[in-house]
Symmetry: C2
Subunit: 331 residues, 2 copies
DNA sequence: CTGTTAGCGCTTTCAG
DNA sequence: CTGAAAGCGCTAACAG
């Protein structure tokens, strides 16, 4: 179990050279069928499995890539990881997964650890300083998801369109005052979302305030509910779905029901129809993002990528059950 | 970007031997501080990063492990992956992630690909035939999660205890009639859960019926709501949380609110506090499962594991807001 | 403290 | 079609 059989042992037992054994596994077309057969059989017998590390050192290729995400428990990421994985498998790539728990130093640490043993890196919602990202990008091909750095291939899920629609939707329902619940200030996504909401509100002449819920999550949303109420708004748009749910729970605690007395819109649409009432949310195409990111990385690895790629995925509003006309509070 | 600087280049530029450069990175305590400084600096300048592949070949250790799960989008797994990752990081292990989409051949393929480049493997809910699992276990240390194979270290999540408590909980609230929503009939988990519910109901002299929701999921639960109502029960225990949410939604559609008019309990506790009202559920401690699995693997790697380990994790009931005393329907 | 010398296991020309 | 030989980049005794 510890010392694995090597190519030499197979060679000796099969009565051939090491080169032949090697070829039997990598270029079987180059040697006679019966030799392949013989080699494979004896390999099987002694439990020989090619050592990919040695192979990698020799060829300079190992087909491993690294994927770093801030929080795998955030339902936004699993579909992305899954689709990326799938795309990776197609090219027989193995993927290292790294979870940073939203901490920059852990992200840096993981990237550093990965960079010496991968052909390329995909950084999702990276919180690393730009120069640090560039450092890694200089070492190995890097693709970014939801982080916009010029010169580094990136796929961005642009919530702007969806957010704009969200504001319009609220306006149509009659809301005049809305509050935006902010995510991490360093997050590109948050910046996009905030900006879009701000613009739309201005255009529709709605009043806008904002409340922070950082790091985003159910608890942060729950805690933010008080301030949301104080804001005097009649509707909230949250940085993400989980935070939105927290707000709904927090409001309920204060006897403010959704959507009768307060409207709430989430973002990312990761909960789907799962909750009750079902959350109105800005959908994203994170599966597609994963697929495309890996595609870009593959292209990068085969030098097929020449120009600066900035792939933007649009979003849309999915209206469900947490939005309704505003409730006129007395007093 | 393609040809990375090697130890030799650093050595030459720094005017030392390759061994010294190597030591500057791996055993800095063995050489003078100023040499370390000098080496590190020139390395930095030319963008040298130790090649972990070469290092691995030389030392025979690379600290990589493989993790294979059936479906990363199933909310059951992310927390497990996350805790495993965390535990792995502590020992500077990097983890390969593999998603099988519940397909045996993909699982086999991933395991085969991983086995040549990892120190150990963790297989979650493996669908592989036992002999195949044993094959991999002979090649590399393997730890199983939710798969019970004698002789291979495994951690099992046992829903029985939690299910029993769920039934008791309902009994204490005053319920006399409960309905169990079945998952896949071939699923070991479902069998285990159904059996536990049946036993507990019998013991507490409660009447029990069952309704199928197969394949489990939100829609199946939603559709099952009608039958749940017809059953005459006042409470339901669902095979999993998602199905439970579907039932709640289905009941709501029929103007039966939870928990005032009907109590619902889920299983797996993957939704946490996310929903409103928050779902009462049977927790499965999958985080702990991940942590322990990795711990076992580490022990296995350092030959600290002697006897056959079969670690069983108990489950517990997490009472939240979807259970209440029974509503006495008129008529 | 630092340099020299062998490999780790595999692939890959280059000959036969 | 198969073998011999030369590394891939790094580490690890063993000397100095």
């Amino acid at each position: 179990m510890k010392n694995n059989p090597t190519i030499s042992q197979v060679a000796e037992l099969a009565g051939v050279s090491r080169a032949t054994v090697s070829r039997a596994f990598t270029r079987p077309d180059l040697i006679s069928a019966k030799t392949v057969e013989k080699v494979r059989k004896t390999a099987q017998e002694i439990g020989y499995v090619p050592n990919r590390v040695a192979r990698a050192l020799s060829t300079g290729r190992h087909g491993n890539i690294g994927l770093i995400v801030p929080d795998i428990s955030n339902p936004f990421f699993p579909p992305l990881i899954r689709s990326m994985q799938r795309e990776a498998d197609e090219a027989s790539f193995s993927v290292f997964i790294g979870n940073t728990d939203e901490q920059v130093d852990r992200e840096d640490q993981l990237a550093e650890r990965f960079v010496g043993q991968v052909e390329g890196l995909v950084l999702c919602s990276s919180r690393l300083p730009e120069e640090q990202v560039r450092y890694y990008a200089a070492l190995r091909p890097v693709v970014l998801v939801n982080r916009d750095i010029k010169g580094i291939p990136r796929v961005l899920i642009d919530s702007a369109a969806g957010m704009t629609k969200a504001v319009s939707h609220l306006a149509e329902l009659g809301h005049r005052s809305v509050v935006y619940i902010e995510g991490p200030s360093t997050s590109w996504s948050n910046q996009q979302r905030r900006l879009a909401v701000r613009k739309a509100a201005k255009k529709l002449k709605m009043s806008l305030t904002s409340v922070s819920a950082n790091p985003p999550g159910f608890d942060a949303g729950f805690l933010a509910a008080g301030k949301v109420l104080e804001s005097g708004a009649t509707a909230a748009i949250a940085f993400d779905d989980i935070t939105a749910q927290g707000i709904i729970a927090g409001l309920a605690k204060a006897d403010v029901s959704t959507p009768d007395k307060f409207s709430v819109i989430g973002c990312d649409d990761v909960l789907g129809a799962l909750t009750h009432p079902q959350l109105t949310s800005v959908s994203n195409s994170c599966e597609e993002a994963g697929r495309i990111a890996l595609h870009l990385l593959k292209d990068l690895l085969t030098s097929k990528l020449t120009s600066d790629v900035r792939y933007v995925l649009e979003t849309d509003l999915v209206v469900r059950e947490t939005t309704a006309p505003p409730f006129r509070r007395k007093k």
